[in-house]
Amino acid sequence: MKRILVAYTTLGYPSKERFLEFVSKAGKFGVDYLEIGIPPSFAKYDGPAIRRSYEHVKKLGIDTREALRAVAKNASAPIIALTYLDDYATVLNRFAEELSSIGIEYLLLPDLLIDYLDSYKEVLETLRACGVKPTLFVSSSMPDRLIEEVSKHSEPFLYLGIRPATGIPIPVDPVVVVRRVRKLVDNTLVVGFGLSIDDIANAVNAGADGIAVGTAIIEAIERGGIEEAFKLLTKLRGVLNEL
């Protein structure tokens, strides 16, 4: 079975042109889904690297709508847009319709099950009615019952974050977390939030169907531009293919 590789980058990072080049070529490096972060007003569950990338593109003054259109045209893999519901709670309908009209298939709202739990079902209905499929994010600090319940609503996979914030190498045990969640859900399970290369095999052996990488990509771009990020993707694809 082919293991899934999800690559995250921030909309318009590190520049409009380089960003478009990244999304148009990532597929060639074995990326199955592109996760594109739309800079929120407060990235509360993100770590320092991703927060830096948001600040960077905010300074560039990128037009979100225009950039999203360009992604949809150029992307080399299906797109999962990522942003915080905090910024769109009151205009969700309009936002989802816009995503759908642009041709973006999936939307991930990391704060949905944490800060909007009581209304999450309505949010899912709104998204579907507008033609956007919800990708749900769960973490180990969620109760078993909820993970079980929401898993069936998530497309194209269930996203499991194994750390409290993106990219901070807190020493968690991915095997324990993946095993616990694997027992609860039948859905395709993608694991992310600060996985190290060494964690990947362990996470997959514990039952994950794939991995999502974000911070490592942003840090690679910071170090050596998108070429460095492509090198990282090649390496990750290689590790996954061997499992």
Binding site: F42, K44, Y45, G47, P48, L113, I114, D115, L117, S139, S140, S141, M142, P143, D144, L146, R163, P164, A165, I168, P169, I170, P171, V172, D173, V176, V177, R180
Partner: protein
């Protein structure tokens, strides 16, 4: 009744081999720790100052976490399992059909439950290969637990004690020093943060927030680990030994509690007793958290992200809080003066799984005296809050002629607080 002989006979059966984490069994997701919008990453800081395994336990959420044998041995050395007593003297005094049991954490050498997590955190610091641990303490209860734990593992301990307490509580300070700790009045000249403050005001009385900042800075500068007595989930995890033991002990006695009661500062002693019951056997039971009316977090607190420490150095947690800058009035229950409530307990209160009640100091003073005179044990002023709630519940049971089984956590004894009780006597009159 589980008496001492039974404790030895059943010791291996009563002392759990694992801790219980309630997070997978909560009714709703626990909001994660969060970094503030601006400034450095507090979550990243944790990684530098906490023992590796403590962090792993905080962030790898699984229902049962096994307790290493070496640590179990230390639990045994300090007197775990602790006894459960039936408070027959109190029952007779109240003339109630209720049956009252209490888990006696005051039987531990430093006089309270605090050592359950201190031993664990210091063990993991020791496993990381560091030479010493640092922490802060207000009145000295937590500092004593860390001082003893460090000595058990042959580590140095540096306890930054709020200067005003350092000066006014020589007994506590002496206890920590006797256990081998270096006790430093905070603010001090040992850290940049402390010496800056002393430069501005040489008579700065200090605060818990300042002491935390100094303990963290000192750990960073010297390659030590910092151990925390506050509201992080991992602290509550370690305290679950109390409830897991109690569950077994009640089974041996042949009783099932209907109501479980504990006093609440940050929530660790309450959670320690109640969480295993809530998560594993909660059906049909009542859980009552007892706070101080002078620190009205249950009645006036707001559920929001706030810093767990007054200095704002640790990651923000979503909790019921009076605000990190809340200045408590001068009550004698030092352990209940904390501004917030552990995130998981906050959520259980919000969801109505845990009920709460708050009492004023004169009420708990009276309850403490009743307990001391009918049972012999002088409760810590904090634990006297639980006693007051138990008395009220037992009297309610009497009114309705119900044989309610009540279990509460006597989280600490009050023998080191006798001066506080003497002051209460002067403030509220002799009873």
């Amino acid at each position: 009744m589980v008496n001492n002989l039974d404790l030895i006979k059943y010791r291996d059966e009563i002392l759990p081999k694992y801790w219980y984490n309630i997070i997978p069994d909560l009714p709703k997701p626990l909001p994660p720790p969060m970094d503030p919008k601006d400034g450095f990453s507090r979550i990243e800081l944790l990684q530098k100052i906490l023992p590796r395994e403590v962090l792993r336990q905080q962030f790898t959420v699984d229902r049962f976490i096994s307790i290493p044998d070496e640590l179990l041995e230390k639990y045994t050395i300090v007197g775990r399992p602790t006894p459960i007593f039936r408070a027959i003297g109190l029952e007779k005094y109240l003339d109630t059909p209720a049956r009252i049991y209490f888990k006696y954490e005051g039987a531990l050498p430093t006089g309270s439950h605090k050592i359950n997590t201190a031993i664990a955190q210091v063990y993991y610091a020791y496993s990381d290969g560091v030479e010493g641990v640092t922490t802060e303490t207000g009145a000295g209860q937590w500092g004593s637990a860390v001082a003893l734990s460090a000595s058990l593992y042959g580590l140095k301990s540096f306890v930054f004690m709020v200067r005003v307490s350092y000066e006014h509580k020589p007994g506590r300070r002496g206890l920590m020093e006797f256990y081998g700790a270096e006790v430093i009045p905070s603010p001090s000249n040992l850290t940049r943060f402390g010496s800056e403050l002393l430069k501005k005001d040489p008579s700065n009385p200090g605060s818990l927030g300042i002491a935390i900042s100094e303990a963290i800075e000192y750990a960073l500068d010297h390659g030590y680990k910092y151990v925390m007595g506050s509201v992080m989930d991992v602290v509550l995890l370690h305290q679950s030994v109390i409830g897991l033991e109690a569950m077994k002990q009640m089974e041996i006695i042949g009783e099932e509690p209907d109501v479980i009661v504990g006093c609440v500062g940050g929530g660790s002693n309450f959670a320690g007793l109640a969480y295993p019951f809530i998560g594993l056997r909660g059906k049909g039971k009542r859980f009552v958290a007892v706070g101080s009316a002078e620190v009205p977090k249950f009645s006036k607190g707001v559920y929001r992200y706030d810093y767990p420490d007054a200095a704002g150095i640790l990651p923000m947690l979503k909790m019921i809080t009076l605000g990190k800058d809340f200045v408590p009035p001068p009550i004698y229950s030092g352990g209940l003066r904390y501004h917030g409530l552990a995130p998981s307990l906050s959520l259980l209160v919000k969801e109505g799984v845990v009920e709460w009640v708050e009492y004023r100091e004169p009420e708990i003073y009276r309850a403490a005296a009743i307990f001391a005179r009918t049972q012999g044990i002088v409760p810590a002023p904090e634990s006297a809050h639980a006693v007051k709630a138990v008395i009220d519940i037992a009297l309610e049971a009497k009114k309705r002629n119900e044989k309610t089984v009540i279990l509460f956590n006597m989280s600490g004894h009050g023998l080191l607080d006798i001066d506080n009780y003497r002051s209460m006597m002067m403030r509220y009159g002799r009873l």
